[in-house]
């Protein structure tokens, strides 16, 4: 049951005319491949330009054309940008799903539908608006083959009229969307105007939802997480990108290629980077490891099935101690799973990816800004600690549009780790590749090509001693593995610390990570406002876990670990790490519907477990 203010309802459930301003979710139900993405982006940007906090989430099928797809836009004056479970305003364009879409609405919602769908009589507790799209599009678009693409822009105009979105902002957003394609922009704006005019002359506003200008977006940007990650990698000085296309990570590589071409060509016209679309994920990670060994800042980007394929190389990176950065834009598994749905279910498999005793550093960005920043962290950590680092993003963060403050210029230096140059070797004479000289369990390395006769060493995934020589001696093996364990422990103090938000006297703690942060922020407010339950909050930003995490659990009676998978993977990882006495404090809120997390589901579950 919805508890947010969706308006007052009379006995029949019809919305009374108490305005609901800047607090609604709009859902566009369409089929993929119909060109609705431009229309939806224009709608999103128009609301953004009116200064109202807004987010857009694409719930789409693994298909190119013809299957149902939904785009939800949430406008919220308080800045809540997580997916809202309840739909307030439905734009029904898909004949296949229209009936179900309408039947699943809460009373009081509004429906805008294509006239031939004849949805108006389905329910009497909703507001219906019908629009003759085909007739309208024929008047603005003489060219029949373009009509299918332009048709969707009509609902933008209709919605603008019904929700009070300014047409000036629609035009601005639309011209930005079509950029240099002036003809297309004109045609589309004419369609939006036709929709607006039709709504003005033929529709009577009967729902309570309205957009009103605010000033909450001054200076802000709209960006998806994958583009932000890509930009971060460009500024982190990445020089080798090897990748294999896979949803939902491809757009990270593609966007990075665009940025590299724009900003990383030297004055001599030559590229300060190399990009290879590899033949598969094994080759992609192999190239990263080869490049990392030779000293480049190298990365790949992938998703679940790719992570599985990279497993053997991940172990090589760990054991031979070679820097590498891997972005995992998580989708729903197991196996092929649901390639276009979001999840946080690669946590456990990635933490221990590969055979033997392995452990990997993972970073968990929760916003485009953190995607940008953690790109620097990932490369610095990989080179300082000489190991593979996984950045665990997800489809919701990576592919959806988010409002963000602009990213400040990275002030952190590019740290290349312990690399001995020819001059160093001239001074020291020789070195032992895997010897713990500094007490931090990290050895010194040299790069191939270093012109010194003592520079070379032999890198191998087989047993080796401190001098990098082949060894099957038990003491060498144990000593090396023990050092690797210490090295991993040492990383606890180097990885991004958790973010902790506390209130006075809260007994309950919530632990979250990644893209669910936004739902959790909202859920904490709901728990406080609806159930008088105040909570402290810790957002994990990296594995291995910083010591603050165990302190947080210790200082609370019960701690809810919220995550998007079936088996409470983060909780399981915490259980392995925490003192045994702390483990009983942990409670799991694990959800796996493949949709971006909504606050309501979390609030209801925690409230129920708290006996509220």
């Amino acid at each position: 049951m919805a508890t947010t203010d969706v308006g007052l309802h009379d006995a029949a459930g019809r919305a009374a005319r108490v305005p609901v301003v800047n607090n609604m979710s709009i859902q566009v139900a369409t089929v993929n491949g119909s060109g609705s993405q431009s229309s939806n982006t224009v709608l999103l940007r128009s609301i953004f330009q009116m200064g109202v906090p807004v987010s857009g989430k694409n719930l789409f099928p693994s298909n190119i054309a013809g299957l149902p797809t939904w785009y939800t836009i949430r406008a919220n004056k308080d800045g809540y940008v997580a997916r809202k479970k309840e739909i307030d305003f439905l734009i029904a364009m898909n004949v296949e799903t229209a009936r179900d879409d309408v039947m699943s609405l809460d009373p009081g919602a509004a429906v805008l539908y294509d006239e031939p769908l004849k949805l108006g009589s389905l329910r009497n507790d909703l507001t219906f608006y019908s629009v003759p799209y085909d007739k309208l599009v024929a008047t603005v678009c003489p060219e029949a083959k373009l009509r299918k693409l332009v048709k969707n822009m009509i609902y933008v105009g209709v919605v603008a009229k019904l929700l009070d979105i300014e047409m000036g902002e629609i035009e601005k957003a639309l011209r930005k969307q079509f950029a240099k394609k002036v003809k297309a922009a004109n045609l589309n704006f004419a369609a939006a105007q036709a929709g607006f005019d039709y709504a003005s002359s033929s529709l009577t506003k009967a729902d309570p939802f309205r957009i009103e200008r605010m000033n909450k977006n001054v200076g802000k940007i709209i960006m998806d997480g994958n583009s932000a990650s890509a930009l971060g990698c460009v500024f982190a000085g990445c020089t080798v990108l090897s990748w294999y296309p896979i949803t939902p990570s491809s757009s990270l590589a593609e966007s990075m290629i665009e940025y590299l071409k724009r900003f990383r060509i030297g004055p001599d016209g030559k590229a300060t980077f190399a990009v290879v679309q590899a033949e598969d994920e094994l080759a992609a990670i192999g190239m990263v490891i080869g490049a990392g060994w030779a000293g480049a800042r190298a990365m790949t980007t992938t998703s679940g099935p790719g992570i599985s394929l990279m497993s053997e190389f991940a172990g090589l990176s760990y054991y031979a101690e070679i820097p590498a950065v891997v972005w995992d834009i998580q989708r729903v598994g197991p196996s092929t799973g649901l390639p276009t749905r979001t999840s946080q279910a690669d946590i456990l498999s990635t933490a221990f990816l590969s055979h033997g005793d392995t452990k990997h550093i993972m970073l968990f960005p929760s916003s485009p800004h953190e995607c940008f920043e953690m790109a620097m962290d990932a490369f610095n950590l990989a080179e300082k600690i000489q190991t593979i680092v996984f950045v665990m993003s997800d489809l919701d963060l990576g592919m959806n549009n988010w409002i963000s403050d602009p990213f400040p210029y990275p002030e952190k230096p590019i740290e290349r780790g312990k690399v001995l140059t020819k001059e160093d070797l001239d001074k020291f004479g020789s070195f032992s590749r895997y010897k713990d000289v500094d007490g931090d369990a990290i050895g010194y390395r040299t790069l191939p090509g270093t012109q010194h006769r003592a520079a070379a060493y032999f890198t191998r995934g087989s047993g080796h001693n401190a001098e990098a020589q082949y060894s099957e001696r038990a003491e060498d093996y144990e000593g090396n593995m023990e050092r690797l364990r210490r090295k991993f422990d040492h990383a606890r103090s180097l990885v991004p610390a958790p973010v902790i938000e506390t209130v006075l006297d809260a007994e309950i703690g919530i632990i979250g990570f990644g893209s669910t942060h936004w739902a959790l922020t909202e859920s904490r407010d709901q728990l406080r406002d609806e159930h008088k339950l105040t909570t402290d909050y810790l957002r994990i930003r990296a594995y291995p876990f910083a010591n603050e995490i165990s302190e947080f659990v210790r200082s609370h009676k019960r701690v809810y670990v919220v995550e998007q998978n079936r088996d409470a993977q983060m909780l399981a990882l915490l259980r392995l790490d925490l003192d045994g006495e702390l483990v009983p404090k942990l409670r799991s809120v694990a959800r796996l519907d493949g949709l971006p997390l909504d606050a309501r589901s979390v609030t209801d579950e925690i409230a129920a477990m708290e006996g509220k």
């Binding site: 982190a236 090897s242 590229a271 192999g286 000293g295 995934g461």
Partner: protein
């Protein structure tokens, strides 16, 4: 005839053969791979390659262990099974001044690694890729590999029922620009071919038949020393004249093909077969297939193309190694970030 009159004690860098040696081999006595290591040492020494400039890369198997047994002054990476091509690609992308020397086996290349092998050949990455080819898995004790010939038998007498993969034929058709086959027992041919390989710019694929004395050197095997000696059919007599040896020797254009390498070195191939043109892809493939029908072990420079652009040319990467470009070059300025932010507003 011999272009290097007598082996000097030091090469043009002032280095001795000793500077090109590796650790003591742990392979079986008589293993063909050891002979190949020796030829690599000699060729690198004679060509005056700075050992520190070389990156040795390998996969897993007996062959892939061998980089430990030559050129200890070069970095080496014994990676994972069948994945040497990708690791080598990454290393070359990171530092284009490296000379990549990949050593693999027939199992590492033609079975588990066939996918990466194929894609490496397509890219014409600058690398010397040597397959130490014995038709058998040595380190796991004698199972057939994918280059084993149809009908060839194991020690137990079991005959191979599947046709072999011809790595040279694949390499030629896919885009490698220097493809040769040799025999670990043919010292002179392998030596000259390796020197030419060092001078080549692009992907070199050398399939070197290298008998496994322990598991595949018996009667019935088509990868035994005896079989190789009996069936070797050299296409040419190979002479290599390095660019730094300014020797001019007349040759008969009717009987000899001369190929000028990228660095000005000259590869002279005295034809043992009339009409064989090593720059003709189709002829090379046809001849390889004829050899199969005639049970010949065809050796020599099968194909060479000194004109094709390399992968690095295609990527147009900076002249300096990407690995060590300074932060000022790889981190764009503040105005760039501000420009991107403005576009997103």
């Amino acid at each position: 005839m011999a272009t290097t009159p007598s082996t000097p004690k030091t090469n043009r860098l002032g280095l001795a053969v000793l500077d090109y040696r590796g650790s003591k081999t742990t392979l079986c006595a008589g293993c063909g791979h050891n002979a190949i290591s020796e030829r690599i040492i000699d060729a690198m020494f004679e060509m005056g390659v700075q050992p520190e400039r070389v990156a040795k890369l390998s996969g897993i198997g007996c062959s892939s262990k061998s980089p430990a047994y030559f050129m200890s002054r070069a970095h080496s990476f014994n990676s994972v099974h069948g994945r040497m091509p990708s690791v080598a690609t990454g290393a070359v992308l990171a530092n284009r001044s490296l000379m990549a020397l990949g050593v693999s086996g027939d199992g590492d290349t033609a079975s588990i690694g066939i996918g990466q092998f194929i894609h490496l050949m397509r890219r014409n990455l600058p690398i010397i890729y040597i397959i130490e080819d014995n038709g058998v898995y040595g380190l796991t004790k004698g199972q057939f590999s994918a280059t084993a010939d149809l009908g060839s038998t194991l020690k137990s007498g079991i005959a191979n029922e599947l046709p072999p993969i011809d790595t040279c034929e694949l390499a030629i058709s896919l885009g490698a620009t220097f493809v040769g086959r040799s025999f670990s027992g043919d010292k002179k041919q392998l030596h000259s071919m390796l020197k030419a390989a060092i001078a080549h710019k692009g992907t070199v694929l050398l399939d070197v038949i290298s008998p496994c004395v322990t598991f595949n050197d018996h009667e019935g095997s088509t990868k035994s020393y005896k079989y190789a000696i009996d069936h070797e059919e050299p296409l040419q007599e190979i002479n290599f004249i390095p660019a730094f040896e300014n020797i001019s020797v007349e040759y008969d254009a009717g009987t000899t093909v001369e190929v000028t390498m990228h660095d000005g070195s000259r590869l002279r191939l005295r034809k043992l077969e009339e009409d064989y043109d090593p720059t003709n892809k189709i002829q090379a493939i046809t001849r390889l297939n004829e050899a199969k029908e005639k049970d010949e072990m065809l050796t020599g420079v099968l194909y060479v193309n000194t004109q094709a652009p390399t992968f690095l040319d295609m990527l147009n990467t900076a002249d300096e190694p990407l690995a060590t470009l300074p932060a000022s070059v790889v981190r764009p300025g503040r105005e760039v970030l501000e420009q991107v932010m403005e576009e997103l507003r």
